[in-house]
Amino acid sequence: MPPAESVPLLAVDGLTKRFGGVVALSGYAIRVAAGELIGLIGPNGAGKTTVLNLLTGVTRPSEGRIVFRGEDITGQRADRFTARGIARTFQNIRLFRDLTVLDNVTAALHLRHGPALASAVLALPAARRAERRMAARGLELLDLFALADRAQARARDLPYGEQRKVEIARALATEPRLLLLDEPAAGMNPAETRHLMDVIRAVHDALSLTILVVEHDMSLIMGLCGRVQVINRGEVLADGAPAQVQADPAVIEAYLGTRRARAGA
């Protein structure tokens, strides 16, 4: 468990999500302290993406509470979650495909830096300054991922690994306190994954960001995270230091169980 001396950044209790008869998540709970870098793992269909969808307001929980920075934000709209300071990437990449790479990022900068409509339409100096600031900031964010020279490319034309990085840059543009990454290394080769890990570590340190990362690539989880939570069939199985979780019999059983089931199928 994280240190209990301060109010946690995120406190989630009893989170349950049912889709018709399917229970995707049941009684999920987590406390996240500011500054943590947590891995969320589990076999396919365990409910990891469901957790992220609930924590970003994309879907509403059937039961349970989400308290972020001391405020109960359960049931609010997704854009309110973002405004409060939670940002995410998507497992199945959801870039603004026909926009340029830079516009993908500046669209997300609008939340905190966008000029008012009237001043934009009238092209007032304030609006022009805001646009310039956003373009400059967008390029800085892209530069973190060595993508500044692709700024004017259409997002859809980038290779897969680069699209994943644009998604992270775009999420950072909303200036989050808590960043949720859904399988950021999927589709990357080992070299790209290592670069990604460096970048995640760098933004974690530089922006004093709290990060929850869902990933199947164990080298990334073990190399990056100070704490790992394991879920299986919608329930929390283990939560603790990576080595401790790796040795947990219930975790081994869950992974072996699915591997056996898959081998048998």
Binding site: A78, N92, E192
Partner: protein, 351 residues
């Protein structure tokens, strides 16, 4: 930023060139031709303003004629000669019957009324997507028609308003077309326009980047409706009569054809296609009459549409504007270090 300055001077130059063309036209052409050109200009206003909702935000709306009707009736009631208004429109309250406004405030009032109507209907209707939204907005035309028919003390119902003063001329249309293009262009190039396009590309991702979907959708819809309302007022004061069936489904179809031809989201494309289609229709009309092939225009328009959809489905301009009109400097990072080499290929797809 010299890029921006270039953009502004180009815009000013085009505006002046257009004004010179309008001046030459009014000095040399007969009334009939001037009226045709004015209709083409109104089509430009309609197509360009629909671009905000249909092209940028990805809301397929067919409701423009309904908002034109709101704007047209409001403006016409306001400009109608006070001497005749009392007995033609008996239900008008006295204070309103005594009014006889000049065109400009009447147009603005019509636009405002259309905008308010768009906000009211937008709350329920904009929850719908795709075909459902198209059908619902088409329904607005019929709802408005019924309203106008039933408020006959204010609108003369099915008889329609006739004898509306002919206040619209080519200069009015040109001025509003320039204003419409300016507003839509600025919205498109602004940060807000970028969030609209983000919504079009991926709603869930846009919401997760902090874009308030409902409000942004409503804004795109309402700005378009205000401009359509103004176009309705211009139309009414050009044609001089307005009935519940004047502005209907066929017009909705024509406007949509214009923006599909121009490229959904391209302001230049919408304007060019509106002028082009208006020209085709007017050039073919004499051919129809001499050959007796009535309906030729519709057939040609439909064939052009089908051809474009097959051979160039993104329309003439896609969602973009021609580069020479953009006048936008490409931003760059100051004193960049060389990027770390990272050009390895991705290996597998996602689930």
């Amino acid at each position: 930023m010299s890029g921006t300055a270039r953009g502004w001077s180009l815009a000013a130059g085009l505006t002046v060139a257009g004004a010179v063309a309008v001046w030459l036209a009014t000095a040399s052409l007969n009334n009939y031709l001037l009226t045709l050109i004015a209709f083409a200009g109104i089509n430009v206003i309609l197509a360009v303003s629909l671009t905000l909702a249909n092209g940028l935000t990805g809301l397929f709306s067919l409701g423009h004629p309904a908002f034109m009707m709101v704007g047209g009736y409001v403006a016409a009631i306001l400009t109608f000669p006070a001497s005749r208004k009392g007995f033609m429109l008996p239900d008008l309250p006295d204070w309103l019957a005594a009014q006889q406004w000049p065109l400009l405030p009447a147009l603005l009032a019509g636009g405002a009324a259309a905008g308010i109507a768009a906000v009211i209907v937008g709350f329920p209707v904009l929850r719908l997507r795709g075909h459902y939204l198209a059908v619902a907005t088409l329904g607005l035309i019929f709802i408005l028609r019924a309203v106008v028919n039933n408020l006959d003390g204010y609108t003369r119902g099915a008889l329609g308003l006739s004898g509306i003063p002919r206040l619209t001329d080519l200069w009015w249309v040109y001025g509003w077309a320039v204003a419409t293009i300016f507003v839509c262009w600025r919205v498109k190039q602004s940060s807000l326009g970028r969030t609209m396009m983000a919504m079009r590309e991926n709603e869930m991702a846009a919401a997760c980047m902090g874009v308030p979907l409902a409000r942004t959708r409503l804004l795109a819809f309402a700005i378009g409706a205000i401009l359509a309302g103004i176009a309705g007022g211009l139309w009414a004061h050009l044609v001089t009569n307005l009935t519940p069936t004047s502005l209907g489904v066929f017009l909705a179809f024509q406007i949509v054809v214009m923006i599909v031809l121009g490229g959904q989201g391209s302001i230049t494309g919408a304007a060019v296609a509106a002028l082009g289609l208006s020209a085709i229709a007017n050039l073919l009309r004499p051919v129809e009459q001499t050959t007796g092939l009535y309906g030729l225009t519709q057939i040609v328009v439909a064939l052009v549409l089908i051809g474009v959809l097959i051979f160039r489905s993104q329309g003439l301009f896609g969602s973009r504007e021609p580069a020479f009109l953009q006048g936008k400097a490409v931003p760059s990072l100051p004193e960049r270090q060389p990027a770390t080499p990272d050009n390895t290929d991705p290996q597998r797809g996602s689930t």
